[in-house]
């Protein structure tokens, strides 16, 4: 019962944040409808492209910069090797952050320990 209550609290906070985000994005007016014409199609000749977007090969479809022609989100770079490459790249980013934070702290802790030991040795 206690666990169920805790799950409910987590889900309620999640739902509240989600609702805020949906309302925020809709209120900001930056949605798909902003980029489309009355007939539901994008109009390149209208007010120009939104920043970061470029027309597709057919001139009508619009996709974010860096998106490849053959794959928007799925199937593209390919299988296990692509997955391994992505995983290694992400692990590298995390490892870099861990090193940048943990290493200086570890050095500082060792230095503090050494400083604490030194007077004891000289006193001894």
């Amino acid at each position: 019962m206690k666990t169920l209550g805790r799950i409910l609290i987590i889900l309620m906070v999640f739902a509240a944040l989600s609702a805020l985000m949906v309302v925020g994005v809709n209120a900001s007016g930056v949605s798909a409808s902003s980029f489309r014409g009355e007939g539901g199609e994008f109009r390149p000749g209208g007010e120009g492209f939104p920043p970061g977007f470029q027309p597709g090969a057919d001139g009508n479809r619009v996709r974010p910069e860096g998106f490849e022609e053959h794959s928007e989100r799925g199937e593209g770079r390919g299988g296990i090797s692509g997955l391994m490459f992505g995983a290694v790249r992400n692990i590298f980013v995390i490892a870099l952050l861990v090193t940048l934070i943990v290493w200086p702290r570890s050095v500082a802790r060792k230095k503090r320990k050494m400083d604490a030991v030194k007077p004891a040795i000289t006193e001894g």
């Binding site: 666990t3 805790r6 799950i7 987590i10 889900l11 906070v13 999640f14 944040l17 989600s18 985000m21 949906v22 994005v25 900001s28 930056v30 949605s31 798909a32 409808s33 980029f35 939104p50 970061g52 977007f53 619009v62 974010p64 794959s71 989100r73 799925g74 199937e75 593209g76 770079r77 390919g78 299988g79 296990i80 692509g82 997955l83 490459f85 992505g86 995983a87 992400n90 692990i91 980013v93 995390i94 870099l96 952050l97 861990v98 940048l100 934070i101 943990v102």
Partner: protein, 172 residues
């Protein structure tokens, strides 16, 4: 984090270690939808939501304790940790909500079709990149716990197993 280790039972700590390893592996797969395929990306992300709820439940005592003491006397590391965890939760929520809004497999499977939005796609990419950075910070701040728990529940049992086998072989 050390007081959290003291409060949790060994079973809880072990569960948390395996759960965290599972979440980390799933995170690495979901971070690359072009390689894993969109279906795996979406279903695994939704499954991760349940795992993350379990992760929060296992840290519940710490969350409650720090929430109560946040405005009072509290160490810097715990305070930074608490703020970062909230930011991670908000970013995770944005990641899931934007993912649901641009879903191509999971939501249509439930018969839900949402209007395609470039803003949601951009927010999804942005929150994913931000999530990776915050996960790095989260890992760094819990590095002591990770090393201790890894050593206690994964490395030491394996070492003990091998040394016991060697002793047995030597006795024979």
């Amino acid at each position: 984090m050390s007081d959290e280790v003291a409060r949790n039972t060994p079973v809880q700590t072990k569960t948390k270690l395996w759960l965290d390893l599972l979440i980390f592996a799933a995170f690495l797969v979901t971070m690359d939808p072009r390689s894993s395929g969109i279906a795996i990306h979406e279903w695994l992300s939704l499954a991760m939501l349940a795992a993350l709820i379990l992760h929060l439940l296992l840290s519940w005592d710490w969350i409650v304790s720090i929430s109560q003491r946040f405005l009072g006397k509290l160490g810097t590391q715990n305070r930074v940790n608490y703020i970062l965890n909230w930011l991670l939760f908000i970013d995770g929520t944005l990641l899931i909500v934007s993912g649901v809004m641009i879903s191509e497999v999971a939501m249509p499977f439930f018969g839900i079709r949402l209007p395609e939005g470039f803003a949601w796609r951009r927010l999804h990419d942005m929150s994913a990149n931000l999530g990776l950075l915050m996960l790095g910070l989260h890992t760094a701040l819990h590095w002591g716990w990770i090393v201790n728990t890894f050593s206690r529940y994964l490395v030491q049992p394996v070492v003990r197993l091998f040394s016991a086998k060697q002793k047995k072989d030597a006795a024979i």
